[in-house]
């Protein structure tokens, strides 16, 4: 139990081709204004700014430094960056607040996935000696995992299509979603494979976008939010880097991180899972033991929009919003990184 809460969340539209630069400024300026207005905080009330993004995605060095333009960093600010999804920047900010060095933090993530070939770029997160030289792309690796799950009888292609259909139906409530609408699993299953055994609907879209979350402590949180989403647990774990060492039908790091974060399926109302592929949502649901009472991805999840380096942070923001809006008492946000759910993070929040 801490006295640190998420009190604000804003997200840019997820778009296949945004007109933003790769330093994200054009996507960030509007959501900074939105989140500060929503919380009634001023720019100078933020003690610590922390971001997640990637120069590989941007195709330029130090793109995150250019992104600081969107903050208006004068007088000088305290700022940090992780070359990861913004969810890990949120973790850094959370630790900063735990140490007592800051009482408020604004955390953001951004990515313009459309600038390059996302599937190829993600090959460069793999082992640089044995794997990256073969350029195995992110979709192909996820497809290897999907077939293992299918052939082990843990999922079916129909269940995967149902995940996609449900995601798009949920996303109809969000005008900023990239993919939404009513579609049946039958319709989806009639479509061709993109990377056998994955069809296009099994894969998150390629998205440009940004997300921002505000953390605050104690009375500041109460003053600026009617119903703060108090953080009860926050943890992340990683599985082995070598794909061959992992049982890809399981996710030990997700299970361990969820346990460390105190995730209890018996009391959880909502889980926002960062599953960029349909079978991964099913895999995580099974591994975490999430039952009927837990609403999964009411936002539509990453399948409705997957801005790289922002989508994990957005899951936590969406879960927090379930609490701040009174739709849930306890919610968990999840973020993943690396190939085939290699690294996993959970933030468990509740009303008090």
């Amino acid at each position: 139990m801490t006295d640190i809460a998420i009190i604000g969340f804003a997200q840019s539209p997820s778009e296949r081709h945004s007109t933003s630069t790769t330093n994200g400024v054009e996507m960030l300026v509007p959501i900074f204004h939105e989140i500060l207005a929503d919380t009634g905080l001023r720019h100078q009330d933020i003690d610590f700014w922390c971001s997640g993004s990637s120069d590989y995605l941007a195709g330029r060095a130090f793109s995150f430094v250019s992104a600081v333009d969107a903050i208006g960093a004068f007088p000088p600010i305290a700022e940090s960056h992780v070359e990861m999804d913004g969810a890990w920047a949120l973790y850094e900010a959370y630790v900063k607040l735990l140490t007592g060095e800051a009482d408020t933090a604004l955390v953001y993530g951004f990515g313009k996935s459309s600038a390059g070939n996302l599937r190829r770029i993600l090959a460069l997160q793999l082992d640089p000696y044995l794997l990256a030289p073969l350029w195995p792309d992110s979709v192909s690796i996820a497809a290897l995992q999907a077939r293992l799950c299918l052939e082990a009888g843990l999922v079916t292609e129909r269940e995967m299509a149902e995940v996609a259909a449900r995601s798009r139906a949920h996303a109809m409530a969000d005008p900023r979603a990239q993919l939404s609408g009513l579609v049946s699993a039958d319709e989806l299953l009639a479509r061709p494979y993109l990377a056998d055994p994955l069809r296009a609907h099994d894969c998150a879209p390629i998205s440009d976008g940004a997300a921002a979350v505000i953390l605050a402590r104690g009375d500041i949180a109460r003053r600026h939010c009617r119903r703060p989403a108090w953080i009860d647990g926050f943890a992340h774990r990683v599985d082995a880097g070598a794909l061959g060492l992992r049982d890809l039908t399981r996710s030990p790091s997700a299970v361990a991180a969820a346990a460390d974060a105190g995730l209890d399926p018996a009391t959880l109302d909502v889980a926002e899972l960062h599953a960029p592929f349909t079978h991964q949502e099913l895999l995580l649901t099974r591994e975490l033991g999430l039952g009927e009472r837990v609403r999964i991805n009411p936002s539509g999840g990453a399948l409705a929009g997957n801005p790289m380096f922002a989508a994990g942070l957005a899951r936590i923001g969406a879960a927090a919003r379930q609490v701040t809006s009174g739709q849930a008492d306890r919610a968990a946000g999840h973020a993943t990184s690396g190939p085939a759910l290699q690294q996993n993070l959970f933030c468990v929040m509740g009303a008090r």
């Binding site: 630069t21 400024v25 333009d69 903050i71 640089p128 195995p136 497809a143 077939r147 990377a195 890809l248």
Partner: protein, 317 residues
Amino acid sequence: METALSAPLTISFDYTRSLGPVLAPFMSALSERRILGVRGSDGRVHAPPVEYDPLTHEPLTDLVEVADTGTVLTWSWQPEPLDGQPLDHPFGWAMIRLDGADTPMLHAVDAGAPTAMSTGMRVRARWVAEPVGHIRDIECFEPLDTATAVQPDRRPGVSVTSIVTPIRLSYDHMVSPEESRYLRGLAEGRLFGQRCPACRKVYLPPRGACPTDGVPTEEEVEVSDHGTVTTFSIINVPHAGQRHKPPYVAAYVLLDGADIPLLHLILGCPADQVRMGMRVAAVWRPREQWGTTPENIEYFQPSGEPDAAYDSYARHL
């Protein structure tokens, strides 16, 4: 609003990576068309080898040879191969457990069609003609029933201690709407900055957001192609890609009407005559060469005007 300008951008670099006590023998063996694995603390053999034990995290050293044949544990199909992948026609990706190993490796299978792929299928490595000690010495795997009947002989290898992996990425690099306006102005021989609505400073080039205030710059301001050197450095060191012979001068030029200096070259006078406060003017390339690029201004040269007073640029240093 006019559409933002964009241009192709390709970046590439040949990464040279040193190899340790596990990967150096592994890569060297590949050059002999042999595959090594490593035995872990639980007796399992990992091929390709891992440097540290997955259970105890101790360094591993017990290298053992495994076969270049194996069994597919899972696969996916790549109908449209991406640049750099092992094959340029449709192929399968597979996790392949090599005979003699316990954990699988990822590689490509040249099967022709997804109908020729299946979990449990037997495959064999197809080696490149001239192995050099790199993971790409294995061109791909192929189904054992259709594999080339005669495999090339093993060959004397080389001892490698590092590998080179070329990485090339292509982007569509887009500039902001403000920068687009600036570049389009340059194509007409004009210099457009923008004024921040909060601090009133004129940015040149204009930016998506004033870095002081975090708001977009909006009001367009045309600035002169004459300006003042605020500070400068003399480049004496030759480097790759250099376009001018040292010594030459790079300087911050505060154009008349702008609040942010522009970094540019000062040519047309000896380097040791450039000074703070010197007045300079843009030297434009011939009009027929102009495009939406800062290169339209080739360099700045002394304008002959009297030096600017220090106070006129003191706030812009």
